[in-house]
């Protein structure tokens, strides 16, 4: 409690917050401070950015550094400690300034991620870097992937993708300060495919990441149109276009916007949920890296429609390139007056605050994301009350996924009639699919709703090496496995509901004949156990009991028969689905259950 910050720690925090105004917030005590209490207003919302600053400076969060942040922001130290220990990218123990996160999650796992992890563990010297196993890094089309997180003088995160199973590139990124400053690079000469006519129309043009290039593609025409129409008509068009949320919950966007617009409480907020962490999902990353202004324009339209003056763009901590592109784009948009005090005309402000997560799948859950922005632990809240009335800071909030938001642009530029001319009656427009695993040309593909699963896989070149499809993971780890008999399944919201599968976040992970599904189930069970925030009992203990039961089945040390264990897993699945607070717990068993029921896993003898 009495630990003091080092000069470097103090400097890093002051660089973010500015110098302290008085001794009441950590400055030097003056005569005035003895007479006047000048506690700053609660700035807890800056806690996560401040922790990033500290961590970036020295590679861990010391007690002295944390104390200084607490003084500057008026946050109780115990609470700040609780927040600092919540995120996987932070450490409160001293460690080397470089951390190598090797992804051994689903898509990387079937492309040699586990072997790469072992290699890095044995070859990267422990005094230079810590090697950790990472949940999905969202680079599945270029698997296997590594995130090198560097602090101190060489600070800046580097994403290495599609790297061979040796530690050569990793060591380069650890040693060479020239590599980095937040860049992604891929060792392969063949670029993954990012193909689409509407949402991905600009993704193939590197120039679209600048405002000039974006405008050359017709950028900001949608905002122009929105301002001509007025907010009510914008919401009406979005509603008529039947835009449904693409983050997994499929909630009607027009209803959400209407709900926020109708609130009389001020201020209101709009948030872009870019905490894309569902294993197998990378579409939002591709959009943000290649078309950052589309995200900013769409969020600006959301603010215009709902009456918000402040927006947040919450991006996961493992996306350095997308973070840089967005932050550059925000600066450029501000310079052009598209954001700022007069964004919607004289005296009508709107601006966007870019917030970076720090390694927590749960923060993609909307209410957990609110808490994270507020500087609290990213634990979900109970609903109701819903975000429309009680969102971030307890105010009316509209929160939409990246893909959902950018759909608003074609709705406004093309018009509703043209927009709904593709897709089905209930699932309008197009959808981004994340093709990974055993496909010839992985990438993000835009298809109209109603396309069949088989056609989506064929468009990506099918399975390499003439092998057959054993299973497809649809919708991510929170989705489920389907067999090759479902290749004719139509990918729409209504077909998915009726057929008992889910589109989730658009994950189509293809698994060939030789894939070990049991191994993937173990990884999924482990994922949910690691990522459960621990708040509610069904998820906190259920994810542990699920993983334990699977391990017992694998090694053949079942309690009772395998059938008894399958019954136990069903019981655990039911209570997680029915009684957990949020979507993480509610879906933590769905993929494992789908594998057991569809593929008869653990039906007979022990598999190991």
């Amino acid at each position: 409690m009495t630990a003091e910050p080092t000069a470097a720690e103090r400097e890093s925090v002051d660089a973010l917050l500015g110098p302290p105004g008085s001794s009441w917030e950590g400055g030097v005590r003056t005569a005035v401070d003895m007479r006047v209490s000048r506690a700053p207003e609660n700035r807890r919302t800056l806690l996560l950015p401040a922790l990033h600053a500290l961590h970036g400076a020295i590679g861990w969060i010391s007690e002295g550094g944390l104390n200084y942040v607490c003084e500057r922001l008026t946050v109780p130290p115990a609470e700040a400690y609780g927040v600092a220990t919540f995120y996987a990218m932070f450490s409160v123990e001293e460690r080397p300034t470089t951390v190598v996160h090797v992804c051994d999650d689903l898509a990387c796992r079937v492309q040699g991620g586990s072997e790469l992890l072992e290699t890095c563990r044995s070859e990267v010297p422990g005094d230079e870097a810590v090697v950790v196993s990472s949940p999905c890094l969202g680079q599945c089309e270029r698997a296997p992937a590594v995130l090198v997180q560097r602090a101190g003088d060489a600070r800046g995160d580097v994403v290495l993708t599609d790297i061979a199973a040796d530690s050569h590139h990793v060591m380069q990124a650890v040693h060479d300060e020239q590599i980095g400053g937040d860049v992604s690079y891929t060792s392969t000469w063949q670029e993954p495919v990012y193909a689409g006519d509407r949402l991905l129309a600009r993704a193939s043009d590197p120039g679209a990441a600048s405002l000039e290039g974006y405008r050359a593609h017709g950028g900001y025409a949608a905002l122009q149109r929105a301002r001509e129409l007025g907010s009510d008509d914008v919401i009406r068009l979005v509603t008529e276009a039947k835009l449904l949320g693409r983050g997994g919950a499929a909630f009607p966007t027009g209803v959400k916007w209407r709900g926020v617009a109708d609130q009389s409480v001020e201020p209101k907020y709009v948030i872009c949920n870019a905490d894309e962490s569902e294993p197998g999902t990378f579409k939002d990353r591709v959009v943000m890296e290649r078309d950052p202004f589309a995200v900013i324009e769409a969020l600006t339209i959301a603010a215009f429609a709902t009456g918000a003056a402040q927006g947040y763009l919450y991006i996961r901590g493992e996306y350095p390139l997308a973070t840089r592109r967005l932050s550059d784009a925000i600066v450029e948009a501000r310079g052009a007056g598209l954001l700022g005090p007069d964004a919607f005309g004289p005296g009508r402000p709107f601006d966007i605050d870019l917030r970076r997560g720090a390694g927590a799948y749960i923060c993609g859950e909307e209410t957990a994301l609110f808490n994270s922005i507020e500087g609290k632990r990213g634990e979900p809240r109970n609903k109701p009350p819903f975000p429309v009335t009680h969102g971030v800071f307890g105010k009316p909030t509209s929160i939409n996924n990246v893909e959902t938001l950018i759909n608003v642009l074609p709705i406004l530029t093309l018009g509703v009639r043209e927009y709904v001319s593709v897709g089905t009656t209930d699932s309008t427009g197009t959808r981004l699919f994340c093709l990974s695993g055993h496909v010839e040309r992985p990438g993000v593909y835009e298809h109209p709703h109603g396309v069949t699963l088989g056609a989506v896989i064929d468009a990506a070149g099918g399975v390499p090496g003439g092998k057959g499809i054993k299973a497809v993971l649809l919708g991510g780890a929170a989705g489920g496995f389907v067999g090759p008999d479902r290749l004719d399944a139509r990918l729409t919201f209504e077909d998915a509901r009726a057929g008992g599968y889910t589109l989730g976040s658009g994950v189509v992970m293809v698994l060939d004949d030789d894939t070990d599904l049991v191994d993937l189930c173990l990884r999924i069970a482990r994922f949910f156990r690691d990522e459960s925030c621990g708040q509610c009992v069904p998820c906190r203990v259920g994810t542990v009991r699920q993983e334990e039961a699977l391990h017992r089945l694998v090694v053949g040390r079942t309690i009772g028969s395998p059938a008894d264990e399958r019954g136990l897993l069903r019981d655990v699945a039911a209570v997680m689905r029915d009684a957990s607070i949020c979507g993480l717990g509610q879906t933590a068993a769905s993929a494992v259950q789908s594998a057991i029921t569809t593929f008869g896993l653990f039906d007979g003898e022990a598999t190991a």
């Binding site: 409690m1 009441w24 506690a39 607490c70 003084e71 008026t74 109780p76 130290p77 115990a78 609470e79 400690y81 609780g82 220990t85 919540f86 995120y87 996987a88 450490s91 123990e93 950790v132 196993s133 990472s134 949940p135 390694g359 927590a360 632990r377 109970n382 109701p384 482990r526 156990r529 690691d530 459960s532 925030c533 621990g534 708040q535 509610c536 009992v537 069904p538 998820c539 906190r540 203990v541 259920g542 542990v544 009991r545 993983e547 334990e548 391990h551 017992r552 694998v554 040390r557 309690i559 136990l568 019981d571 039911a574 209570v575 689905r577 029915d578 009684a579 957990s580 607070i581 509610q586």
Partner: protein, 235 residues
């Protein structure tokens, strides 16, 4: 101060609990309504004088129109709400929650009610296997979020660990911590406004299988003399 709490009169409304109409004041929770009609509802993290945090989920009920079960302790009852407290789904969820807690935390000193409920719901915490040996002191404190420990398939993980004795006034026994957040709430906005206790870590890493230890930066001896660790820190 009056001996009987005086409140603004509240409008009464009807809710349906297991087919019986209950008349309760507006703003009541489902739990209030259940208690008013004599429906026995198990609770663990709930306390009458604290803001419900609905973390244990043992009080869940079925509400018509809701996809998932809802926590009775925190959900406000609405006029005309149809509530079922004794369906197979509700009983099964409550039973599993009791089994989860019973298999991972030492609940032997929990209330008589808790033990009675365990019997009533035929909860069998041993179905997940024998409890693992307690970890050595400090072992859990070194676990970080994201660092996975493969489970030992022969035992069920628990939060058992040696008692931590910080000083004569502050003893922490995490082997019995059900993460009800009551201490956090009482130390925070519900009573003391001291904010010296917070939950740290995430679920299965730095805490336990299940749990997360609450940890205070300065052990609060929660008496009038040393009420606020934080207040002292900021002078």
């Amino acid at each position: 101060m009056s001996a009987i709490p005086v409140e603004m009169p509240r409008k009464l409304m009807d809710v349906d609990i297991d087919g019986t109409t209950a008349r309760v004041p507006e703003g009541s929770t489902i739990l209030d309504a259940c208690r008013a009609t004599g429906v026995d509802t198990p609770t663990m993290c709930y306390a009458d004088n604290l803001t419900p945090i609905n973390a244990c989920r043992v009080c869940v009920v079925e509400v018509e129109g809701s996809r998932v079960l809802v926590p009775a302790c925190s959900r406000t009852a609405e006029a005309g709400m149809k509530i079922s407290t004794d369906t197979e789904r509700v009983r099964q969820s409550r039973k599993l929650v009791m089994e989860f807690l019973g298999s991972s935390v030492d609940t032997s000193l929990a209330s008589d009610d808790w033990h009675r409920w365990q019997d009533e719901y035929a909860a069998d915490p041993e179905r997940f296997g024998a409890a693992m040996e307690p970890l050595p002191a400090g072992e859990r404190d070194t676990r970080e979020p994201g660092h996975h420990h493969d489970p030992d398939p022969t035992v069920a993980e628990t939060v058992e660990q040696p008692v931590k004795i910080d000083n004569e006034l502050y003893v922490r026994d995490y082997g019995r911590c059900v993460l009800c957040y009551k201490c956090v709430e009482a130390c925070g906005t519900d009573a003391q406004h001291t904010f010296a206790i917070a939950v740290a870590g995430v679920a299965s890493t730095r805490g336990s299988p299940p749990s997360t230890p609450c940890r205070s930066m300065r052990a609060p001896a929660c008496t009038a003399a040393t009420a606020s660790a934080y207040a002292r820190r900021v002078r």
